[in-house]
Amino acid sequence: MSDFENAVQPIVKVDDLWFRYEKQDWALRGVSLEIYPQEILAIVGQNGAGKTTLVKHFNGILTPEKGSVKISGRESHTIPMEEMATQVGYCYQNPDHQIFNLTVRQELEFGLRNLNIGEDEIQRRIARVIETVELNGLEEEYPFALGRGQRQKLAVGSILAMNPPIIIIDEPTTGMDWRGGQAMMELIQDLHQSGRTIIMITHDMRIVTAYATRIVVMAEGRILTSGTAKQVFVQKDVLARAFLEAPQINRIAEALSEYGIAADALTIPEAVDSFKQSRKKG
């Protein structure tokens, strides 16, 4: 173990977690995972692989059948929901599953009002959050008059207002076009840079490649592997077991590896560099 890992305690620690929905097959079969502060962790895998079931243990919505899930050292399911909201923020996939207020401002205040926070503090936080999620000027708008991308930002903002150090985002870019997705990912990067730990579930391997500091690959309720994009996307057997495909650039680079192109090139600049070098050698 490096000095760094010795010094830093995991903020989420999952130990041999087993879980099943009533009377059904195991959805999680012995998952162990440590998440460290300030990671952008991407959990990937097909639907039904157990991704959502796993992260729902992080904010105590689900209780382990076997094993344990600790948030900053405490069993997650023992933390009261109100306190949990200030520890782990969970942005669900569909923003419309939580938006119900008549104005953007009220929607952002909802969580804080559940927490009995003073009015001054609420207004201070809302002002900050509105800046962060770029909804300035839309405070009094009716949320459903906003576009999908803005509603997603509003949903993230309402979580952010409670100032949790850990943020879980389920499918941050689903249903958005390329620009919307990019804006969302920039927001996530900002949150990361302000010191938060990000856990995201996504099917988009390009997003994973571009933004995640670590990738966890799941299939059939187990973690198959975890590591950086470079470490994960070269494990073709693991990808096949999880029914995942590396991003297109990596597939092309891999196909050209016998011609001297780096098989772990993931991005266009990397592939171009590798191309240049193979030319020099040639």
Partner: protein, 263 residues
């Protein structure tokens, strides 16, 4: 996740195989009998007959028992309250101003059997009939196509809406919502946080559904057909005939003054 949306439980017996139209007719006849008769000695045999048919027809009995248990309070209340409030016939017991009569007790017993008959019969139908067969059967006995379609959509989308509802509850809990907290106004607001998104999501589903349905030949002027049709088997016909005869006998008895009390 594990909510059961359908009472139907896999099985095989003459009851499972019976044409849904016959089963629905049988339930309607039981209803008629239970309403016409008010005498316990006329109602009780039907109760035991239904139980016997359920046992012979391999209706999942654990679920019937469960049902009887949950009904027991209602049955008990009927059994106790009627005699206390309804006083025809001869007084048989008095305690201060509270008294009961013989006919009152009998009426209480009769009403208990009425409740049992009118609940167990349709539940037995649902336990042994798939929802789609039920709809096919209802249409077979004359429910208009549109009403049958509405019912089918309700059955079809119940789990969908419940699923969405669960997602919404989770999302709001994650924002610190405790639904039972606060005063009246706070609680109304709590519920709004779940019902609001649920309504919007349901409307979205309804909109997409409407477009999908509309694009599937809804403008057709042809007479609608069905992918499955119901055929009465020989035994189905005999059973129907039997129930027809039963109705004649029951109505006859009732017209002749049997099966009810004459106070």
């Amino acid at each position: 996740m594990s909510i059961q949306f359908e009472l139907y439980t896999e099985g095989s017996s003459f009851l499972y195989r019976m044409d849904p139209r016959v089963k629905i007719t049988a339930v309607l006849v039981i209803f008629l009998i239970s309403v016409l008769f008010t005498h316990p000695l006329y109602l009780a045999p039907f109760f035991f007959a239904i139980l016997a048919i359920d046992i012979l027809g391999k209706v999942p009995f654990r679920r019937v028992i469960l049902l009887l248990k949950s009904l027991s309070l209602l049955v008990l209340i009927s059994f106790i309250m009627w005699p206390l409030l309804f006083h025809p016939g001869t007084e048989i017991f008095r305690w201060g101003s509270i008294y009961i009569t013989d006919f009152g007790v009998a009426y209480g017993v009769a009403m208990a059997f009425r409740i049992l008959n009118m609940v167990i019969a349709p539940i037995s139908l649902m336990l042994t009939t798939q929802q789609r067969e039920l709809i096919l059967g209802l249409r077979g006995i004359g429910l208009p196509t549109k009403a049958a379609f509405a019912l089918a959509i309700a059955f079809r989308f119940l789990p969908t809406v419940v699923g969405v509802g669960n997602g919404i509850i989770e999302a709001q809990r994650s924002r610190g919502l405790d639904i039972n907290k606060g005063g009246l106004i706070q609680r109304v607001r709590n519920y709004a946080s779940i019902l609001g998104p649920l309504m919007i999501s349901s409307l979205r589903i309804a909109q997409q559904l409407a477009l999908a349905v509309e694009s599937k030949a809804m403008s057709s002027t042809a007479k609608r057909t069905t992918v499955r049709t119901l055929e009465y088997s020989k035994s189905d016909r005999y059973v129907l005939l039997g129930f027809g005869a039963l109705v004649v006998v029951v109505v006859g008895l009732r017209l002749m003054g049997y099966g009810a009390f004459n106070f």
